[in-house]
């Protein structure tokens, strides 16, 4: 009996042996260890930009100025943080000499930019290289820009755009301009005129005098023309201005009909705008070459502030057809509009992002004004600012930053330009010589 029992147990153990082996094998780890990282940090990336080398004596001052503009561009985004020169261990004395990565790692520089500048008469040449310090290699190939010394700021912006693009993977926005309404004088005698400047507030030039009220300038898709509304005739009418020649002409000259809030279509040949006739405001398009018009909305309510999608197929606009100003999207040829804003408050001045994925807007709620963004269906609304009066958002060419007007309260209140990124970070004023409102950002310059 005992012998039989022992034999039975032995046979059971033999039978179970493969299973036990398989179990232990399963418990052991096969292949490499696998982990998933889902939480990271969001902070400015530290970089170093030693002063560019002057290869000719005449280039010494420009080399330093160009370096400073590049640093201001990159640090101004809020995505990068410059490591001050006083913390550098290495010095760069030869543009073609190998970089000592260990020295830059020691100061935690994750990106390094080196460059050289040479001036020959009016000819300016800027060369630069970017490095991924912790990967011990270059950030793409080095580049060389040539131009005239007058254009040194643009060259600095182009270098910064290239570095920005290589690190973030999206295009930059530094070599761009902003057209805006310059405001001077006290509140009861404010004088307004169109002005244009670099995106960072440098090089302001005036495009109109202050004899007539001007509003809402908008760049063409190529940046060569500007649409705006002028009260020169005593009535709001749309003008188009050639930026290079500073020549302007009236687009809509019908007496007794107010036309305003113009914006170019992505093809640059059509203008969408609002027209008030008989106490009713609707949205129209006009062919710039022929003057042919098409009415897109027919409603007793106020329809205004139209803005095309980047592909030109849809238009977002503001309407009070539901009782309060809200945002609607309709086909570019007109037709049924769908409401996209449903939050509490009033929505206005919608602008489609150049990336096509977001719509920026002005919102008034509980006595405060906000600049915000939302998805095309109105979801994921995100308020980026809050103040006494914020309005009129305009997108940077890469769709990462929004510029807008902020007006302060009181008799001495004045309007200034501000910018903020689409996450609500890096809110800061834009430097202008006087008060400023209604900014419109150009595309990147060619």
């Amino acid at each position: 009996m005992r012998r039989n029992l022992t034999a039975l147990l032995a046979s059971l153990l033999v039978a179970a042996a493969p299973l036990l082996t398989a179990g232990s094998a399963a418990q052991a780890q096969n292949g490499p260890l696998r982990i998933e990282i889902t939480d990271g940090v969001i902070e400015p990336l530290p970089y170093a930009v030693p002063s560019f080398l002057a290869e000719t004596p005449a280039a010494a001052e420009l080399a330093n100025q160009i370096t400073r503009v590049i640093a201001a561009d990159l640090s101004g985004t809020g995505l990068f943080r410059e490591i001050p020169a006083t913390a550098h261990i290495s010095t760069v004395s030869d543009f073609n000499a190998p970089v000592r990565f260990a020295d830059w790692k020691a100061v935690n520089a994750q990106a390094l930019i080196t460059g050289s500048v040479s001036v020959n008469g009016k000819q300016l040449t800027v060369r630069f290289r970017g490095y991924d310090v912790f990967a011990d290699n270059e950030l793409g190939a080095g580049l060389q820009f040539s131009g005239t010394t007058d254009g040194w700021r643009r060259m600095a912006h182009k270098v910064a755009d290239a570095i920005y693009s290589r690190i973030t993977g999206e295009s930059g926005y530094f070599d761009s301009r902003v057209v805006f309404v310059s405001e001077t004088g006290p509140k009861n005698d404010r004088r307004k005129r169109l002005a244009i400047m670099d995106y960072d507030g440098a090089g302001v030039q005036y495009l109109t005098n202050s004899s007539a009220l001007v509003l809402a300038p908008r760049f063409s898709p190529t940046g060569d023309r500007v649409l705006y509304t002028s009260y020169e005739s005593g009535f709001p009418q749309i003008h188009v201005l050639d930026v290079g020649k500073v020549q302007r002409r009236v687009l809509s000259a019908d007496k007794g009909i107010m036309s305003f809030a113009p914006r170019f279509a992505p093809d640059g040949n059509t203008v969408v705008y609002s027209q008030a006739e008989g106490g009713n405001t609707d949205i129209y398009t006009m062919d710039i070459a022929t003057g042919a018009r098409q009415r897109l909305t027919r409603a007793p309510s106020i329809e205004t502030a139209p803005s095309y999608s980047p592909d030109g197929n849809q238009i977002v606009f503001e309407s009070d057809r539901s009782g309060t100003p809200q945002l609607y999207v309709m086909p570019a040829t007109g037709g049924e509009a769908r409401r996209i804003s449903f939050g509490k408050g009033r929505y206005g001045t919608p602008v489609w992002s150049p990336r096509g994925d977001l719509i920026a807007f002005t919102k008034q709620s509980k006595g405060r004004f906000h600049i915000g963004v939302m998805r095309l269906d109105g979801s994921e609304e995100r308020l980026l600012t809050a103040s006494f009066l914020d309005e009129g958002p305009s997108w940077s060419p890469n769709g990462r930053v929004i510029m807008f007007t902020r007006e302060t309260q009181g008799a001495n209140g004045r309007a200034l330009l501000y910018s903020v990124d689409i996450l609500g970070r890096n809110l800061k004023p834009v430097r202008t010589p006087d008060g400023a409102s209604d900014p419109a950002w150009s595309p990147l310059q060619k």
Binding site: R34, A141, G147, N188, Y206, L383
Partner: protein, 376 residues
């Protein structure tokens, strides 16, 4: 037989009179207010002087000396903005204090800057950039803008930034044993989500008071063990470790050189615990900075493989992207570079991993999934 009308009226009137005498006349009623006019007693001379007619001033025929009125200010500017502008809050009017100081004259408006005839463009646009040949690869403080998984309060100014929290240690003059000088360190300040201007007031609101403790006291760190007495015994195990490391490097070099398939040795012993894996995950997370990534790269998940030295340091040359999902190749490249920086930076001092389980963590595949980081 009816009464005459006059009799009826007489009876009714007498009835009313009797009723009034019987009831109404006895009820008290409020006396009618007497009109009172205050007067002042004045003398006859004063009355004569007051009643004297005031002579009108003489008006000259010719309006000499008239000065034209000051130019009236322009009518207030009408807000001609056609776009519907939301109502502004109207502040309450406040009494204007009367000040006897002279009103300063408005400054003369500055003349308009000249309108450009033609924009002075820098405008010899830079030529098409030329490529520069690559080089051979040789051997102020901003306030905390940081968004991290766990919020961290701002450290004191003199405290150095480090992952570890360490108090400052300065040697006591009268101490018997030698003490190591240690600088105070603390992690960088961080918030666990992006705070915009629109929601910062929500952030600033104080939390409601609670009686219960909000955090438990963290246990003190275990004191360091004293150094072993005999050094010779501790030196012995390092030899096979070095041999093992060199063997791994040889095998890796052979594999890279195309020396055929080299089977990785099967890891033996117990695998890493969940806590040990979490510690590794947290250490890499601290250096995974997605703040400078494009929105497309923030939608891209990358799998990155890396081999570690026995001391926990990543071998830089072994870091490679295994796969990517959710974005273009360009976005995957940016996402991979951010992941690589995280591994190299936070592994520079060696990841804290149990050395007896080296076989289990020698090769690691890390999946960097930024889904939670898109809008934090």
């Amino acid at each position: 037989m009816g009464l005459q009308t006059g009799t009826k009226i007489s009876l009714a009137a007498h009835g009313l009179l009797v009723s009034w005498v019987a009831f109404g006349a006895w009820l008290p009623s409020e006396p009618l207010p007497l009109p009172v006019q205050e007067v002042a007693v004045i003398s006859a001379e004063e009355f004569a002087r007051l009643s004297q007619q005031i002579q009108a001033p003489q008006v000259s025929e010719s309006p000499n000396g008239l000065t034209p009125p000051a130019a009236s200010p322009e009518p207030p500017e009408v807000s001609a903005r056609p776009e519907t502008r939301p109502d502004r809050p109207i502040p309450e009017a406040t009494p204007v204090p009367v000040v006897d100081e002279p009103v300063p004259a408005l400054p003369e408006p500055e003349p308009d800057p000249e309108v450009a005839d033609r924009l002075s463009e820098p405008e010899t646009p830079p030529e098409v950039p030329a490529l520069i040949p690559s080089l051979p690869v040789p051997e102020q403080v901003r306030p905390a803008d940081r968004v991290a998984p766990v919020p961290v309060e701002a450290p004191e100014e003199e405290v150095a930034i480090d992952d570890l929290v360490q108090p400052e240690v300065s040697p006591d003059e009268g101490a018997l044993s030698e003490q190591e000088v240690q600088e105070a360190t603390a992690p960088e300040a961080a918030s666990d989500r992006i705070v915009t201007e629109a929601n910062e007031s929500d952030e600033a609101e104080p939390a409601p008071p609670v009686a219960a403790p909000l955090t438990s006291v963290r246990p003190k760190t275990r004191p360091r063990r004293p150094a072993p007495a005999e050094v010779a015994e501790t030196a012995a195990p390092s030899a096979p470790q070095v041999e093992q490391a060199s063997a791994i490097e040889d095998a890796l070099a052979a594999a890279i050189a195309g020396g055929g398939h080299v089977a990785a040795p099967e890891p033996s012993g117990p695998p890493l615990t969940v806590g040990e894996k979490d510690a590794l995950r947290v250490s890499v997370s601290k250096c995974w900075n997605v703040g400078s990534l494009s929105t497309e790269a923030l939608k891209t998940t990358v799998e990155v493989a890396v081999s570690l030295d026995p001391d926990g340091r990543p071998k830089t040359g072994t870091i490679r992207m295994m796969s990517s999902t959710g974005g273009s190749s360009g976005a995957a490249k940016q996402a991979y570079e951010a992941a690589r920086r995280a591994i190299i930076r936070c592994g520079a001092k060696g990841f804290s991993l149990p050395s007896d389980k080296y076989d289990h963590w020698r090769d690691i595949v890390m999946t960097f999934n930024p889904e939670k980081m898109r809008i934090k």
